[in-house]
Symmetry: C2
Subunit: 181 residues, 2 copies
């Protein structure tokens, strides 16, 4: 079960730097790709790099919408797969057994298997950044997370709340510990 | 001992989303602040959010240079302290027992206690982003990391290579595990 997260807390879903799955819907067709270069731009805004060579960039430019989905460690293989083939050729939701679920504020689907979601709309007038740096700036218009795993922050003591942090190649770090000061 | 990292691999120092310390030198005076919102923009470029209310933003605007330093888990307390007071009032290097070391390509100092460093120069013509979003885009002009902890990527099996990932408040996740697929 997912619960709504207040927009003022949306940034905390990605504040610790996890790899994400970016989902889009273009001409009715859902697609998903992997992205490691994403960060909060504000409490309810995100910055994300999507290569202009990727089908996902084309979908975002056309629809100005996407969802940032946060996978947990159980989805490591899926994350690598989603980053290894193009959505222009493969129906990745179908091929990798992912469930497109309706989002609340955008037409792009949520990836049902993920533990958190940021529904995003590209900020107007920043198309130059996408052309020059593959950089998209977006406003979070809705946020949700798996009940119990995220309260005011991710509870990484719970194995299902442990996200993937891309070290390079096919290797991820996983936050199995935490420090409270 | 630190070793040089090829610029083509610079992004891997922050690819997994660690919190960083940003160091500057303005009018001869070194300063350091904490930042969690940082990501690669390319293999040898970074995007980072620094609030315009912060002394560090003023230093970067004036000098167009900074260093992204990667602290490990042993520096959790220092990371919180550096984020809690302003460099306009406190000499944080001195107050928190940090060592400013000379960088290779910029005048801003390295934070000697950190395990990795990205020496950065702000990309020309993007000042509008700093004014509008507190967002700085920069080119990495030199990179270095602690010998043994970073080879082609961080070796998080070594406790000293374990970075801090900010969950919120005074709580960090630490990558104590890894997944190889």
């Amino acid at each position: 079960m997912k619960k709504r997260i207040p927009l003022q807390r949306a940034y905390r879903l990605i504040n610790h730097g996890p790899v994400v799955l970016v989902s889009t819907r273009y001409r009715g067709r859902p697609n998903v790709c992997t992205a490691a270069w994403v960060m909060p731009l504000d409490v309810d805004r995100v910055a994300i790099v999507i290569s202009s060579e990727n089908y996902t960039a084309r979908c975002i430019v056309a629809t100005r919408e996407f969802v940032v989905n946060i996978p947990n460690r159980m989805l490591a293989k899926t994350v690598l797969r989603c980053g290894s083939v193009s959505g222009s050729k493969v129906d990745k939701f179908n091929a990798f057994g992912l469930t497109p679920e309706p989002a609340r504020r955008v037409k792009a689907p949520l990836v049902g298997e993920c533990i958190g979601h940021l529904e995003c709309r590209v900020i107007s007038g920043e198309g130059r950044l996408a052309r020059k740096y593959d950089l998209f700036l977006a406003r979070v218009v809705a946020a949700s997370a798996e009940r119990g795993l995220f309260t005011d922050r991710w509870n990484v003591r719970l194995p299902r709340a442990r996200t993937l942090h891309h070290l390079g190649g096919n290797i991820f770090a996983v936050p199995a510990g935490r420090i409270v000061k």
